[in-house]
């Protein structure tokens, strides 16, 4: 293989990964958000909930789904700001749009798994895949099955349910 071929291959790879494998939600770019929000769980992309949800959630970190996740005020504000600006209602990414479409204007879901779109996408799963599966346990562990969740990619061909393998509808 000569240099020219190599360059072509590299170029084609970059092109295909950015164009054909379009992300489902925008990837997290903020380092503070990434660090703080991934301390206990995956750093869920802001594009998975509307801004009103992030605002409400970030106002009560002392009771964050039963856990204490309090931050310093400066960090709390910066993270709220980033989450709200990159929330589903301000995103053109495929899944963000679908999540927003499934909500009515008065819905303020605090759990991503409570949004109708996400619920619908997971309705075929049973307890043996999730709740009783020791490597999954909860639908909130996106990255247990979505192998590229951290890159904002949730496509079906990337799903691998631990103990069950690839998932196909």
């Amino acid at each position: 293989m000569n240099i020219r071929q190599l360059v072509m291959i590299v170029f084609a790879t970059i092109l295909s990964s950015s164009v054909f494998a379009a992300r489902d939600v925008a990837v997290v770019t903020d380092s503070l958000y990434k660090e703080e929000c991934s301390a206990c769980h995956m750093a869920y992309q802001p594009g998975l909930l509307p801004a009103r949800s992030w605002e409400k959630m970030m106002a009560n970190l002392a009771d964050h789904f039963g856990e204490n996740a309090e931050l310093g005020e400066k960090e709390r504000k910066a993270i709220t700001d980033y989450a709200m600006k990159n929330a589903a209602d301000f995103s053109n990414f495929k899944r963000s749009v679908k999540i927003m479409r499934s909500l009515s204007a008065s819905d303020v879901p605090l759990r991503i798994t409570d949004t109708p779109y996400i619920k619908r996408k997971h309705h075929e799963l049973s307890n043996r895949h999730v709740k009783d599966n020791p490597k999954v346990k909860s639908l909130s562990r996106c990255d247990a099955c979505h192998t590229k969740a951290d890159t904002g990619s949730y496509s079906e061909r990337e799903i691998k349910v631990p103990g069950f393998g690839r998932w196909e509808d």
Binding site: A39, C40, H41, A62, F65, G66, E67, N68, A69, E70, L71, G72, K137, S138, S140, R141
Partner: protein, 132 residues
């Protein structure tokens, strides 16, 4: 040889940062009114059970998430996320960032004890854990 020296210096730097950070924190707890600190008091408290407000009959303690072995990785009780070992002997990043330490004291004391820890208690924890 040069590489070895670099590793040695890095290790030394980590250990000295750790010592300085913990010493500074202990000094500020004393300024806050704490008296002498005790590793054994820290150990007792580290292993003490507190009632779990979410499920009757169950208990919480520091090892619920950090694990029984201080030199091994722990696991978040709810999310299952791996928590790096707390013992500085196996985790050189431990006790090098005062802000990080205070953040987690606040969160974890509230989770386990249902209140913030006092300066005395935090100092006892630190002198217990620093040599592990």
């Amino acid at each position: 040889m040069k590489k070895q020296l670099a590793y040695f210096l890095m290790l030394f730097w980590c250990i000295s940062t750790q010592a300085a950070v913990v010493d500074d924190m202990l000094a500020s707890y004393k300024a806050d009114g704490a008296s002498d600190f005790s590793a054994s008091r820290g150990e007792v408290m580290w292993n003490k059970d507190y009632p779990d407000p979410d499920s009757a009959g169950k208990v919480r303690n520091c090892t619920t998430c950090h694990g029984k072995d201080l030199r091994a990785k722990g696991k978040h009780a709810k999310t299952g996320k791996v928590i790096d070992a707390i013992a500085p002997s196996v985790n050189s990043e431990r006790f090098t960032d005062p802000k990080f330490i205070e953040k987690w004291f606040k969160r974890n004391c509230k989770w386990v004890l249902d209140r913030e820890c006092t300066s005395q208690e935090k100092g006892d924890f630190l002198v217990y854990l620093r040599n592990k």
